[in-house]
Amino acid sequence: MKQLISLEVNGDVHEIAVEADATLLSVLRDNLELIGTKRGCDSGGCGCCTVHVDGKAMYSCMMYAVSAQGRKITTIEGLGTEERIDPMQEAFVKEGAVQCGYCTCGMIMTAKQLLHDNPHPSEDEIRHGIAGNLCRCTGYHKIVEAIKTAAGNGLPHMKGQ
């Protein structure tokens, strides 16, 4: 039995009919075609589906779409585009933190939350901050460097970008 819900995603309000058990992830991908949010496991284990809900990073596979009503949702598409790129996205590109790229969008959403809560994290704090997001390609080394860069405490030539 579907129900009509109203979802605010990246500043746009959508009226959508969803099943009661539809996850926010499936509605973002399948109904709204916001394909930057990735399905990696559907069980809260990988972090590929991370989005911001009311400014907090959440696994969208672990949240029902009906529970997201009345809350502000931001996906990677709302964070930045190639024309108006977010400094975190730019840092991931410049530091070589992207390999296969499937974990990347979720990782960036988590990293944004991390710097929002703690603008100048230590390396240890960065590593613990992204421990809920898995990556199988990079060994996380360049991801950590990118987050340091975005925090303004990375490589000198990156400062101010």
Partner: protein, 776 residues
Amino acid sequence: MTNLNVVGKSVLRQDAYDKVVGGKGFPVNVSLPGMLHGKMLRSPYPHARILSIDTSRAEKLPGVKAVMTPKDVPQIIFSPIFFMPADSMAIHRDMLILSDTVRFAGQPVAAVAATTAAIAEQALSLIDVEYEELPAVFDPEEAMKDGAPEIHAGVKNNIRATPSFGAGDVEQGFKEADYVFEGTYETQRVHTCYMEPRVCVSDTDSSGHITIYSSIAHLFGLRERLAYALGLPVSKVTVIQAPYIGGSFGSKLDLAYIEALSALLSAKTKKPVRLEHTRYEDFICNARHPMKVHLKTGVKKDGTITARYASTLCDTSAYSAHGPEVIMVHAYFGLMLGYRAPHTKWEGTVVYTNNMPGGAFRGYGAPQAAFAVESQIDEICEKLGFDPIEFRLKNTPRQGDPHPFNPEWKLGGYALDQCLHKGAERMGWANRAKAGSASGTKKRGIGMAAHPIWVSGCVGFPDIYEHSGAIIRLNVDGTAYLSSATMDIGSGQNTTLCQIAAEELGLKFESVRLAPGNTDNLPFDAPTHASRVTYSSGNAVKVAAADAKKNLLEVAAIVMEANAADLEVRDGMISVKGAPARAMSVADVVKRAESPFMVVGAEGPTPTTLKEKGTIMGISSVAPPANASPAVAEFVEVEVDTETGQVKILRAVYAHDLGRVVNPAAAQGQVEGGLQQGIGYALMEKMLFDPDTGACLTSDFLDYKMPTAVEMPSKIECIFIESNEPTGPYGAKSLSEACLIVPAPAIANAIYNAIGVRFHSLPITPEKILAALGKL
């Protein structure tokens, strides 16, 4: 080779911006009009015969468009692996798309296509299957015993293959030794854990032609294998190249059930059909083969190896698939070729069990081997007081030596000595403390492992594809498109191939772009596997670019009234050597070649010559002349908490002779990612199964633990040694797999150095450490 402009630079990868803003190009995003969604019904039993399947209730569910059971699919026996010809005499064929015999828990028995994935899922619960359960066996040693369940009819004691090879007289060799070392080393089943699930969409037209979009690491392999399994000519299948896929690490190199079933469901419904694995389905799709290696080494007092004997037991699982191949690569390039001995012998056994299928995983049998070989060398050096660096150098080949796999090849550029010495110096190896001498509860140790001989592709392997092709096309704006059927699985090869093309063409890197194609319009390329792409596909790209450049300069010579031999291209400008003022841009030359025959200028129409007309292109389809071996050594420092059994990796120094670094940042990324997979293999990853039902118990990331950012060391140091391999493009040879072959033994040896305890099986978990320390 100091005048390189593009090769050797850390240019930004071409797909990075696309991936950070959403990653449109992943196959998981493919959606076609009218598309149906498929799901597979999987057997709960590890070994059973299907007595009947009743699909009538499922077919009545609104939204269900087709149901497939074994009787609806071609009963053509195939092997799923891509890198050998489908009809090869050397391949073991024993699989069906859907069979009335189930041989592992989770094997598909039926499939549904419906208007939504939810309806398809619901329909599965309405299919009634009557099974006759058969006895199952999961331990390969039990499977070989008389009276064990017969898994494939007529295969005695479930022994699929018993390959062997050797040289000299190994018994004599052990007699000549002053010391003989012997041990058994066991490794576990681990999963590649690519992040993008396996997914495909098949679309069949009215003539029966199948177009398939898939998260696959070998376009032509999927075309050939899908056609074979369906009983179609290859020309009836078109595989579309995705711009990139979300990881593979070897896993996406064989025909999956989803691809065959989506094609059949699409043919039946005349609609596009999409199937996507759940993470559980990905976990039971394929995995690294667990192996048990018995290794025996004879050594003289001066450290010379006199004899090497090894035997390997490989659980190939319910089907042959990669098993009979992986054990050969394991034996030659993992166990035996790296260290010289006058007398050698190896014996392998490949055994069927009722376990989930084995597959390819970065390193293809070598990580299992290196754990045995490099652990035992550490034991030998410890016991006899040899320096582990000098012992290795004494028993390994040098630059200029014949290649141990094929003496017709030379180790042209080969610098294992530099890997060992530079790595040792950076790690501070000379200050290594005596094993087990650390005080306190947290004990530190350093260890190392090497891998002297590995591959750059598969040239010289029986019945394995290796040739590559490329097409370069120049545009009127002075840019070039590169087309290649290799799949970028994440390593950044599309970028490095464009660097090679730009270097050869004399263009800026930004002027070359990889243009995806499909199996109808691309030349064949072997899979993205065996660390082959930079060396082998890179070679083909360089040949195609040289061909395009020759054609470009011939047109330029006419227009510029010069000899083509006197012209050079640099940064998109063509000039006469020694007279840089006589120059013309590549764009202007291509424009001239592409222009109408009669060019209208201010002075009226001017005819151009026929010789300068036509699209400027280059094309190649070649195999490299040899199989260059990289050389590698890794040094790690660990800290073992003797109270908790936890091992922390503090630092890793990785030294690799890769011939030439095409893109240093991308190369570092390979090392860092390989270390993550290696730490997982050494310390934490292991697939677990219910001992009674064979059901996978580690089928999501909550139960299957791989390293997060917290488990990784903050210091990963890469030393790249450029030996300039004569047969590689700009001197390059391979990198990727070696990065995962050496970490586990290096970590095991470092743990030994820290606490004085040797482990002979992976993973080295806190439980094993505490038990070994007498604390459990």
